[in-house]
């Protein structure tokens, strides 16, 4: 899995691509902790190129969402689709997040 991040003031965008499995879910959590430590409260996760999430990866999304909430913000999801959406829906995790069709929509919602 590849992770790219950009930080703008109190919001950070994190682009996840490939597979979020047991090995990569830890990287996602530590990357996010670092962004929050740098002042981010709202994290926008772009899932456009994310093809797979396991139950460990799903747990990482919940853990990161809890961190963002504790920092006074939220984890926002962009382009939740395909197999990843199927896994989120089955475990009824989808309603716990604000989801958007584009990065612009997600950014406007917190500006």
């Amino acid at each position: 899995m590849n992770i790219e991040t950009t930080l703008h003031d109190k919001s950070a965008t994190i682009t996840l691509s490939g597979r979020m499995d047991a090995a990569h879910s830890t990287t996602f959590e530590t990357t996010t902790q670092s962004l929050i430590a740098q002042g981010a409260t709202h994290i926008i996760a772009d899932l456009t190129q994310l093809t797979y999430v396991s139950s460990q990866g799903l747990g990482a999304f919940l853990a990161v969402a809890k961190l963002c909430t504790a920092a006074g913000g939220a984890l926002l999801l962009v382009n939740l689709k395909g197999f990843v959406k199927q896994v989120f829906d089955i475990t009824r995790v989808t309603p716990l997040f604000r989801t958007f069709d584009s990065l612009d929509q997600a950014r406007q919602s917190i500006s």
Binding site: D21, A22, S54, G59, A63, T91
Partner: protein, 136 residues
Amino acid sequence: MTTFHTAALRENLPHVLASVRQILSPAALPESLLLKLDLIVEEVFLNIARHAYPTDQPGPVAIACAPTPTGGVSVEFTDHGTPFDPIAAPPIDLDVPLAQRRIGGMGIVLLKSFTSETRYTRDNNTNRLSFQIPPE
């Protein structure tokens, strides 16, 4: 069924996933079914790596898989560790707000959703978990 053996160690997960896909490659199964299979194999293998054997004495796990005549996949995991029935785990509450939502426990929800013919047996100090991923 084609069987391979490996040590029940978390770091062997990529090898396990690649081996299962390699065994099934002649069946040319759809990627959407293989993603479900990846998820369930990851879940079951990591459970065995975590619970079956003492941390300092990792033991063996045998993984057998085969395509089914109807276009699905049949899988069986066998280990000789501590008795552990993942199907018997109590259900977690999925209808609570984020603050109360547990981080773990979702693997069993996905196992029950993605598999059929799921069966756990314990005999002669052996855990055997078998299941099928049905065709879509």
